[in-house]
Amino acid sequence: MAVTKPKTAGTGKRFRLFWKLATLLGGVFGHSQVRATDLPEDEAEAMFHYYNGGGVTAEGPALLVRKKVADNFSLSAGYYVDSVSNASIDVVTTASPYRETRDEYHVGLDYVHRDAHLTLNFSDSTEPDYIAKSTSMDIAQETFGGMTTVNVGFTRGEDQVFKHKNPQFKDFASHWMYRLGVAQILTPHWIVSLNGEAVSDEGFLSSPYRVARVFGAAVPENDPRTRSSRSVDARLVGDLGSHDAVHLELRHFWDNWDIKANNLEVGYSRYFGEDWLADVSTRFYSQTKALFYSDNAASDTLYISRNRLLSTFKDVGLGGKLTYTLKKDPAYTVKLNGEYELTQYKYSDFTDIRTGKLYSFNSNVVQLYVSATF
């Protein structure tokens, strides 16, 4: 796009400023002939997802479509449903099992300019007693001959919290997420990424239904109204040279509620013939409890919780995935995917008050989906 400054252009300060702005905007929104970064492929995915564990079943469909609408713009839209049947240990020991549905819609925009990729996303999630809206922006910049990609991102979330059969109860929760990362090609067969994210929350961060125990008596849980956390995640992917690859992920997390967590995941992927791809992975996770968590508090404190999400526990997962390429054509590709993960959760300071023993449970996660690129 050749643009020359007209000879009739004035030399006034105002015109020079206007010219600079016009050139800048033209560069940002115009068609770039020297663009190096590609838009994500046009794609469509349709999924059925299923979770079962600890008395909770959550299942439903999910859809995603992404389509290029101009040389350097693409739009995406998605729909995600969680039909939840909840008879978890929290519910059966203090309330009645219930069913509810969560619907989430999201739309996104991808824009590429030269070596930069901008992503905007908006999501809206609604369930009978919780509404969550979020807006996020991410920018990825390729540099160093395309060997290094630096990305920064920000998400702002605003939630409204309600309580069944209590129209007087209404509160809010706000979330700010800031992330920074780098992906680096190491060799023609190895790539590594390092990402960090800081999250701050403010508002009602408890559950309006869950209770804590103090001297054996049930009291409403009360979490602090602010929380701030940090996490650092490192990933390594390597091509082993026989149509197979190995994945490694390590993450460390800490927050100002004194929770510290680590997880390690190792995975292996291998092609079988032209059409089949198999993945297996195992994941280990452990965390320490929040300062104000207690299974059965021996003193009355301002903040108190018996949320097992904030307790000391470990989980171990083992997963597998099979992908079959149903149709491969220069114009489009269609794949069938099936994934299963079994995870065992073991709590160190959360007692099942029905048995008096430390609580543990297994969960099953299933994903069945069709994915197409075109």
Partner: protein
């Protein structure tokens, strides 16, 4: 003041002379050598919907969050 400025300029000159002999590393993996890296099995995360569901399940069960590059979606389900 002039003496101090002269000293700074002299130091900068020495530094720049050093820089002239020091070369930035060249990208050592050329675009035509990245065929293996473009294979889907080399992606950091799985397909978008699959990654979103996995992340959502973990955020609901575990206190740790963030830095995975995937948005799990807000909910009041924990």
């Amino acid at each position: 003041m002039n003496l101090r400025a002269g000293a700074v300029i002299a130091m900068l000159s020495v530094q720049l002379t050093g820089c002239a002999q020091w070369h930035m590393p060249e990208p050592w993996v050329k675009p035509y050598e990245r065929e293996a890296l473009a294979d889907p099995i080399m992606k950091f995360s799985s397909d978008p919907l699959s990654a979103k569901h996995t992340e959502h399940v973990r955020i609901v069960r575990e206190a740790a969050r963030g830095a995975t590059g995937v948005e799990g979606g807000g909910c009041g389900c924990n």
